[in-house]
Structures are given as structure tokens and as C-alpha cells.
């Protein structure tokens, strides 16, 4: 399995699976899952400096910042202003780490705490500001094709439509919308990266997203909260490869009735 590298702005990756670092029961487990997923990009959040575990260890004690490209998010922000602040803070930290992720951000401007769906207006405002400030903006969007188009027009490096709400495990709820987004954003610009972000519950969801033509998948809870997270991380990596290959192999069309696979001629039944 040697997929073409995924190019996003100044970056190129062999793995098309982006994995979050939240919600694991231990840092050791997180590290093992990242390894099993074969990911090269990991997302992180920016928070007040007090989140150490019982042994006073932090995320960064378990994350090889020379190996992974870190994609800092603006999770938890409900206004464009707050998301911009968090993006700048994240960049400041990644610059200290000398991690290539310092020049991009996963922009989330959320509408409400219950659905965690994006606020389209605030998302667009923050996208514009952050681009002016020199960021490559990877923008979390709903699966609304119009919103996706507006974000691309504003200069987003990648639009990342949600398959379903964050952490919901419902997979790709509206594959038609994802297909329309892919068609619209890639029209005359086939290399424009579209990543399905959020909602993955199990491996087949990743395959479906890739079969639809997505360039990659970003997930967290689907691995972190699986019964056996390491096994699920491995499954996600295979699922991604399967979907990537199938999308390029060209599936057969759907037919209402059967067509036999074995020859009709020579059958011994009279």
C-alpha cells in the first residue's frame, strides 16, 4: 500500500488519517494508538496550563514532536474572536517546539455545546482573519455545500466537513452532501484537499468517507473510546487504505436485479 502523498498547503503526508489526542484513558494508550493508526498528523487543544495527570505528566511527555506534525485546534471556541486568540496561542507554542504545525490551525467556531456544530458565520469571519495573519486554515464545517464553497472562496487551505456531530459515532450521515461538496470544491481544482472530520464510529465509516472521494479522515473518539482502542486504531488505518484504493478502482454500478457470476452455458440442470 503506497498511496500518493496527500498535499495540503506546504505539507505532504503519506498517511491520510489524522488522529486526535483527546479522551484516551492514559497517555501510554494514546501513544500506542497513534502508532497503530500509522498517522502522521495529530490534533491537540490549547488549554490553561494545569492539565497534568496523577504523576504530573503532560501530553507532550508522550508525543514525539519530531515525528508528528501537530495540528492545533480551536475546540471550545464559540466566537470568531476566541478562535483567533486560541489559534495565535497555539502557533506561539508550536513555534517553541519547532514543529511544522506552527503554520496551520484546525479552526472550529462552534454554535452550541449540545450539537457542537459549527457556526457558519463565525467560522467564515475567523477563516478570513487567520488567513490575513498568515495561517493555513483547516476549517471544520458542516456538510452544507454552500458553507463549504464560501470557506474555500475565503482561502481555506482545506475544508473539513463533518460526517456527523463530533464524538457522535454516527458516521457519514449525508453522503450526498459530502459528494456534492467534493464535486464543487474540486471542480477545476482536483487536488484541493477535503477531509471528513468528525462523527466516525467505526472503521467502515472511514472507508465510506474515502470511497466518496475524500482526501483524508480526521477522527478521535472512534479510536479513543473503542473497547480496544489499539485494535480500532489498526482497523482505521486499514479502512482508510481500503477506501482510498476502492475510490480509485471504480466501483460497479448498482443494479436492481441479479446478474450471475457463473456462466449460464454448460450448467447441468435441465
Amino acid at each position: 500500500m503506497d498511496p500518493a502523498p496527500l498535499k495540503i498547503g506546504p505539507y505532504a503526508f503519506r498517511s491520510r488519517l489524522f488522529v486526535g489526542t483527546g479522551k484516551y484513558s492514559t497517555y501510554e494508550l494514546m501513544r500506542e494508538c497513534l502508532e497503530a493508526s500509522r498517522c502522521e498528523v495529530v490534533t491537540v487543544a490549547v488549554r490553561r496550563e494545569r492539565l497534568y495527570d496523577a504523576q504530573n505528566r503532560s501530553l507532550l511527555d508522550f508525543l514525539d514532536t519530531k515525528r508528528y506534525t501537530i495540528l492545533p485546534n480551536t475546540a471550545g471556541c464559540f466566537t470568531a474572536e476566541d478562535a483567533i486568540r486560541v489559534a495565535r496561542l497555539g502557533r506561539e507554542i508550536l513555534e517553541q517546539l519547532e514543529n511544522p504545525g506552527a503554520s496551520w490551525v484546525k479552526l472550529e467556531v462552534l454554535h452550541d455545546k449540545k450539537t457542537l456544530l459549527p457556526d457558519p458565520i463565525g467560522t467564515l469571519e475567523a477563516t478570513r482573519e487567520l488567513i490575513k495573519d498568515g495561517f493555513h486554515v483547516m476549517v471544520y464545517s458542516s456538510d452544507d455545500p454552500a458553507a463549504a464553497c464560501r470557506l474555500k472562496e475565503a482561502g481555506a487551505t482545506s475544508v473539513m466537513p463533518a460526517g456527523s456531530p463530533i464524538g457522535s459515532g454516527q458516521g457519514v450521515l449525508n453522503p450526498n452532501n459530502i459528494r456534492i461538496i467534493l464535486e464543487m470544491l474540486k471542480e477545476g481544482d482536483p487536488a484541493y484537499p477535503v477531509i471528513v472530520d468528525a462523527g466516525v464510529g467505526t472503521a467502515s465509516d472511514v472507508t465510506i468517507a474515502m470511497e466518496l472521494g475524500a482526501d483524508g479522515v480526521l477522527l478521535n473518539t472512534g479510536i479513543a473510546h473503542a473497547k480496544d482502542p489499539v485494535a480500532m486504531a489498526r482497523a482505521m488505518a486499514h479502512a482508510l487504505d481500503a477506501g482510498f484504493l476502492a475510490a480509485r478502482a471504480g466501483r460497479i454500478s448498482r443494479k436492481l436485479y441479479a446478474t450471475a457470476s457463473s456462466p449460464v452455458e454448460g450448467v447441468i440442470v435441465y
Binding site: G20, T21, G22, K23, Y24, M30, T43, V44, A45, V46, R47, R48, E49, R50, L51, S58, L59, L60, I70, P72, N73, A75, E81, R85, R88, L89, G90, E92, I93, L94, Q96, L97, I166, G167, A198, L218, L219, N220, T221
Partner: protein, 70 residues
């Protein structure tokens, strides 16, 4: 003789620092574990500006780092 002190908020909690103080003074006092970033009143203060950024009564300071997230 009384030393004046400033009341500021750091990560949402009240803190007193001797006046005059800069972001550099506060960082030296709290010694946050690197890497971290600082903002004062919702504005990022870059590392090179710590010593030249004074703190004033009532300032809201945030000191942040990276944590697990999706």
C-alpha cells in the same frame, strides 16, 4: 514602608504580584512548564515581549499549553 502590589487574574484566579511587574516577572514567579504561551487581556504576548510588557491592576492573564484534543 508599604510595597504596592497589583491584583491580577491568572487563568481565572486572583493573584497578587509586587508592583511594578511585567509578564516576565509573572512567568519567573509561576515558572510554567514549557512550552507555554501567554496572553494579557486577550492579546498574545510573544516571548520576546515578556520583559517589556507591563502588568496593570485588574489585568487578565492566560497561560496556556497543549493538551489532548480532537
Amino acid at each position: 514602608m508599604t510595597t504596592t502590589s497589583l491584583r491580577i487574574l491568572v487563568n481565572g484566579e486572583p493573584q497578587r504580584v509586587a508592583s511594578p511587574a511585567t509578564v516576565g516577572t509573572l512567568v519567573a514567579l509561576r515558572r510554567p512548564r514549557p512550552p507555554f504561551a501567554v496572553e494579557v487581556n486577550r492579546r498574545l504576548v510573544r516571548r520576546a515581549e515578556y520583559e517589556s510588557t507591563p502588568l496593570a491592576e485588574g489585568d487578565c492573564v492566560e497561560i496556556v499549553t497543549l493538551v489532548g484534543g480532537g
